[in-house]
């Protein structure tokens, strides 16, 4: 496994270089004039343009700009926005919030999703199973912004149980409802995946063997059926974790949470190219690392998979 991990870590380098180059090119290389509209209706003053051009190496070809940017990244310098904020400061403020939100969402996915899947998978056809199937289908078919707005309207405005806008440095508790909304779609997937996988495994020969050995129902279900059924579920949750970190733009928007998703959104809106590139580069790294962890975890969960 050691050599495999090393090989995978080395593979991350070209993937990271490739993705950042593409992002950098899309953000900087495609616009003719990065100063267009920057200073309202007027042209930007020449000294301002000169300072910025020098700071952002705008006179160099895009590829050279990108290399210089990467050099900065290596020393932890994410660059500065036009308005003068250090991008690294923006990220340092937003990342913990996004991380907490993703954590809440993942916990919701695991606890509610797997429990629902377990209950409906074990009971088989019946009232509970139908209820879970219909409600998960309902969640899957609704876009997150609809779920989010409805939840905010009902729980926040009508009932007044939650604050409609999350405070700047929110606690896990403040993020509970937004996390629920963010995780709802994946939670429904997890429930269905667990259910199907469990039903498939419940007819497996090795489950029959476990019963024939005289093990208790609890042991048969948890150690033999569920343990084996969770392999595809863990893979899904792992991949989803990366998406939850950066893909929470809509949920963050609805509940006014200042996380990474919002940072990308405002960056695009205000044409803060440095901000967009910085955050996206970070998200790429997170995504790659999470994927690597999932692949390694997969081998732990299923001993038939060996990487060496």
């Amino acid at each position: 496994m050691g050599r495999y991990t090393l090989r995978r870590l080395l593979q991350l380098v070209p993937v990271f270089l490739g993705t950042t180059l593409i992002i950098y090119y899309l953000v900087w290389g495609l616009s003719d004039d990065p100063f267009a509209g920057k200073c309202g209706q007027r042209e930007c003053p020449a000294p301002y343009v000169a300072t910025m051009t020098a700071r952002l190496n705008l006179d160099d070809p895009v590829i050279v700009q990108w290399l210089k940017y990467l050099g900065g990244l290596l020393t932890g310098d994410f660059g500065r926005t036009f308005s003068g904020n250090e991008v690294s400061d923006l990220i340092a403020n937003a990342a913990p919030v996004s991380f907490r939100l993703a954590l809440v969402a993942v916990v919701v996915e695991i606890v509610i999703g797997i429990t629902a899947g377990l209950v409906s998978g074990l009971r088989g056809r019946g009232y509970v199973d139908s209820l879970i199937l219909v409600s998960t289908l309902f969640l899957i078919s609704l876009p997150v912004f609809v779920t989010g707005l409805v939840v905010k309207q009902v729980l926040g405005v009508e009932l007044g149980w939650i604050r409609t806008s999350v405070p700047p440095d929110p606690t896990i508790l403040d993020l509970f409802v937004p996390g629920l909304v963010l995780g709802s779609l994946s939670m429904a997937f997890v429930a269905r995946l667990t259910r199907t996988s469990l039903m498939e495994n419940s007819r497996a020969d090795f489950v029959r063997t476990a019963v024939a050995k005289g093990l208790s129902r609890r042991r048969v279900v948890l150690a033999h059926m569920l343990r084996t059924s969770l392999i595809p579920v863990v893979t899904f949750i792992g991949t989803d974790l990366g998406a939850l970190m950066g893909g929470a733009v809509v949920t963050e928007g609805v509940f006014n949470i200042r996380g990474l998703g919002g940072l990308v959104f405002t960056g695009i809106q205000r044409q803060e190219q440095t901000q967009v590139v910085g955050v996206v580069a970070l998200l790429v790294i997170i995504y790659l690392v999470v994927n690597l962890i999932v692949d390694l975890l997969y081998a732990v969960l299923d001993p038939r998979i060996r990487y060496d």
């Binding site: 497996a204 020969d205 090795f206 029959r208 063997t209 476990a210 019963v211 024939a212 050995k213 005289g214 093990l215 208790s216 042991r219 150690a223 033999h224 343990r227 084996t228 392999i231 969960l301 299923d302 001993p303 038939r304």
Partner: protein
């Protein structure tokens, strides 16, 4: 009956699958008994109900779709059908254990072989994980797996087919059962390994004085280890006798058919005689003798001029399992469910009866 209750007694067991018009009568009154230290071989084609009987005995039949509609299963005189679920669970492993056909799918792929054996010591005997693994290694050693201390930590997919079946046997013996049900234990293995596994099973049975039910469709496997043989067809026992008697004077055309379909090196004819046709659909078992559509003898026997019976007795009257007058049979007797069993017993097994 003055004897103590037999180790296992199955009486008139009936099991159905499905509902309404699609109801399949899988078992239609199966009766057999196994004594301690004895091997009963249950022979028959796929779908004859061999495995369903075994699963019903073990209490692992899936209900639904299965449904036990009648009969009794007694273990040392204790009625098991309708017994408390927890009581039945405690009997599994401890009093009766089962070996399955395909050890690769019957073992859980995500746990080590040792852990799966140790599981029984941990959760049925309350042993610590460490002690249980030591016992698991001892068991692997007993079933002659070389290097047991190392292999106990390996996963099923790292074992060869024969070794997996040995591990499966070790697992079934963990709690010292008195009855071992082996459901086609050698079908998935190649011939040389088959013989080794059968030898091992026979040896372990003798050492532990276990009763054994050996389910198979392989007559060669049976000949070497079985004390008694029960032949099943369409959810019924059609013939039962001690092994020597059954081989010497098979009394049911189906048994004779099974024997004729085994390749033999000393056969002068140089070709196999498979039983024509297919086993009957269990949703629609033929009236009369269930075997009559495939029976080479049903026609002429049915209208044999010297016979006093009516023209198509095989098609209309279900032959019951009855004790035959067979002077060569052992103390257990020779039973068969064929209207003309006596005439078959008198003939030699290879003799082809023609009008």
């Amino acid at each position: 009956m003055t004897d103590a209750a037999p180790l296992l007694e199955v009486e008139d067991l009936r099991v159905e699958f499905g509902k309404g018009a699609d109801t399949a009568s899988v078992l239609n009154g199966v009766s057999y008994r196994v004594e301690a230290g004895e091997t009963l071989a249950v022979l028959g084609e796929s779908g004859s109900g061999k495995s369903v009987t075994a699963q019903t005995i073990m209490g692992i039949l899936d209900t639904p779709p299965g449904r036990i509609t009648g009969g009794a299963v007694r273990f040392k005189g204790e009625e098991l059908l309708g017994a408390d679920r927890e009581r039945r669970r405690l009997l599994r492993g401890e009093s009766m254990a089962m070996i399955f056909q395909d050890a690769l799918s019957a073992l859980n792929p995500v746990y080590t072989v040792g852990a799966q054996i140790a599981e029984q010591f941990r959760f049925r005997r309350g042993m610590s994980k460490k002690d249980a693994m030591v016992r698991a290694a001892e068991l692997l050693d007993q079933v002659k797996i070389p290097n047991a201390k190392q292999r106990v930590k390996e996963y099923p997919h790292q074992f060869s087919g024969g070794m997996r079946q040995r591990a499966m046997i070790a697992m079934s013996l963990a709690l010292d059962p008195e009855l071992l049900i082996a459901d086609e234990p050698t079908t998935a293995l190649d011939v040389t390994v088959q013989a080794q596994i059968m030898e091992l099973l026979d040896e372990l049975r003798r050492e532990r004085d276990m009763g054994m039910i050996l389910i198979t469709h392989d007559l060669g496997v049976v000949a070497e280890v079985a004390d008694r043989i029960a032949v099943m067809y369409a959810g019924r026992i059609v013939e039962e006798a001690d092994a020597a008697t059954l081989y010497a004077h098979p009394a049911h055309p189906y048994t004779r058919g099974l024997m004729a379909s085994v390749p033999r090196l000393d056969s002068s004819r140089g070709q196999l005689d498979p039983i024509p046709g297919l086993p009957p659909s269990l949703t629609n078992i033929p009236p009369g003798c269930p075997f009559h559509p495939r029976c080479a003898h049903a026609d002429f026997r049915g209208r044999a001029p010297q016979s006093s019976v009516s023209g198509d007795r095989c098609r209309t009257e279900l032959p019951l399992l009855r004790v035959l007058e067979d002077p060569a049979a052992g103390p257990e007797g020779h039973r068969a469910a064929c209207h003309f069993a006596e005439q078959f017993v008198a003939a030699s097994p290879e003799e082809v009866l023609t009008p």
